[in-house]
Symmetry: C2
Subunit: 355 residues, 2 copies
């Protein structure tokens, strides 16, 4: 018996999602290197590798350390680290035990990395329109050449089309910009005599447009579980959502109820285009109108309103930040409300691995 | 040497904040029972007790268990729990070792609690305008009488004036509504022959209005550290902020920089009235214009822009959710930029204690 609130995984849906994206990658002739920051669990990563992933993507050295310790041997830290002496020592220890790829997006960053880990395999990060990290495509050759001169092994280019998280045509447009940016950056590298054999892109909202001839690899993160953002973007349906916060109704007034699932278990992420602070799995018409640390205020528009003390399954807006809030996931067999009972708990081994 | 990003505490500022609020409570003749969900650390709770707090407030049974294990003997779980058999067993184990107060806001909830923990001390939660949990003041007597009939020991009423988190007159107005609601609810209890000797309110934005004759106790949480919300509400200045996320500039383009502090270390909380996703301690004019899990995009309007690889201190919007994202806080002596070096690390003992 697990006390509410807790995060529950529907294993049947999870495995169906893993198979579907593995098949998408096979059909598009691209490698699948899923982003493990979403789930941070060894058991799920193992299922991804077993269903055909070539390795894992992570965001921090700490995540890489956690997955290396769990036995995963092919890791890409998709972040332009600023490498201090201490981070350099951690990276060398990692490179001794796994096949490690790193990211650069500046000449200065590349020189520092090379000083700490000469010969490291790197990809140049390219900005395809999100305007976060990554160089403009036309500067990719310069960074690649500098990285190579500094002693790094440049194997390709990558981008994150994060601006595909938006309504309307955002996903399709971002996917097209991703292809254009990687294509242009790849040309830049070739002009410098560097073969960009890895051209890596793709997030969950854009991978359906992955069949381009330019991409060689995709790095979706959210797809094992999906979340309320993906439902509202049209990437998946409620029937695909494999992770929920199981919560209890602690107060009821008319059509308004309060659940014991707050931002400390579902996360506070709320993009401007989202309909609320998350969704209710079994009542798509309900809206979470207010969220605090330990309370979600939910309005039910129809006749059905759950009773005081009943159990409600909340779909977080952003599953990556929800999982990072718990020590373990409660895994059930799936098959509808209540599932087939608890079959396992998976430890969130890279929880809070921020650096 | 701690790798960025990490949460750092300025001990000199922290102790100054603790003293100031302890003095405010003494001058207002109210008990101080700070909310420990903010810091979740035993060391900080000890400093609160040592400076005059009568006990601690917590939000979950798990938090109460963590603080009981750390030696704190007077705890109020300020949440209308729906008590299952398993939660009942946990509460009985707690009540055996500490002085425990609980919350009720419905007849049904009180009956369930009484069935699991007869004789428990409870306060009736009253809604003073936030419209989350808590009964309307005019229903407080009915819930109190039912709780007493069921076998609970009703010692008073409490409210959380969370609607005081707003610009303009929101703080002052919420404080006035808090006093009115507690006063009205207290009358309701007296009408039923129940003496409401505890009348508990107060959050960090409203405690400056606490000197009312109605309140007997305040429960502020955020004041040891403060945060960007409190700065923007006018509750404190940047010079009072005692917790920051120490981060590194990983990219710079003109006046725009990207820091390695994302929502997984500063939290994603962003009320509509906030100026961004957090603030920069040493550059009040800078704005965090975008936040993702491991990146903060910051725009600097003036001449000064930090260089690639330099260190920047980010003030989270909401410190309670930031602390919950890390295993430990790095505590420094304070006294300006860089502090006087690390003096301790405090473990976040109740991190993720959601149930």
């Amino acid at each position: 018996m697990t006390d509410t609130p807790y995060l529950a995984v529907d294993l049947a849906r999870l495995d169906r999602n893993l198979q579907a994206v593995a098949e998408l990658a096979r059909n598009a002739h691209v490698d699948l290197r899923p982003h493990a920051k979403t789930h941070k669990t060894a058991e799920l990563a193992r299922r991804q590798i077993d269903s055909g992933a070539v390795g894992l993507t992570v965001a921090t050295i700490g995540e890489a350390e956690a997955f290396a310790a769990a036995g995963f041997g092919d890791l890409f830290i998709a972040y332009p680290l600023w490498v201090t002496a201490h981070k350099g020592a951690r990276l060398r220890a990692l490179a001794d035990r796994v096949s490690l790829r790193l990211a650069v997006d500046s000449v200065e960053g590349a020189v520092r990395l090379a000083a700490e880990l000469s010969g490291a395999e790197v990809l140049v990060e390219v900005d395809s329109g999100q305007h976060r990290t990554g160089v403009a495509p036309e500067s990719a050759g310069e960074v690649a050449a500098a990285a190579q001169s500094a002693g790094l092994k440049v194997v390709g280019v990558f981008t994150f089309p994060g601006h595909g998280y938006g309504p309307g045509h955002a996903r399709r447009d971002a996917a097209a910009q991703e292809i254009a940016a990687l294509s242009s950056a790849a040309e830049q590298l070739r002009d410098r005599g560097i073969e960009p054999r890895v051209r890596s892109g793709g997030s969950t909202p854009t991978i359906e447009f992955a069949d381009s001839g330019v991409l060689t690899e995709i790095r979706p993160g959210v797809y094992p579980f999906y979340d309320a953002q993906q439902v509202e973007l049209g990437v998946c349906g409620f029937d695909d959502v494999a992770l929920t916060a199981v919560s209890t109704v602690v107060r009821r007034d008319g059509r308004r109820v309060v659940l014991d699932a707050g931002s400390k278990i579902i996360g506070a992420d709320r993009p401007a285009w989202a309909s609320g602070h998350g969704r209710i799995l079994d009542e798509p018409a309900a809206r979470i109108v207010a969220l605090s640390e330990h309370h979600a205020v939910v309005e039910y528009p129809d006749e059905y309103v759950p009773s005081l003390g009943s159990t409600v399954r909340v779909v977080p807006n952003h599953v990556c930040t929800a999982v990072n809030l718990v020590d373990e996931l409660v895994v059930g067999g799936g098959a509808g409300e209540g599932g087939e009972g608890e079959v396992a708990t998976w430890r969130v081994v890279a929880r809070g691995a921020n650096s």
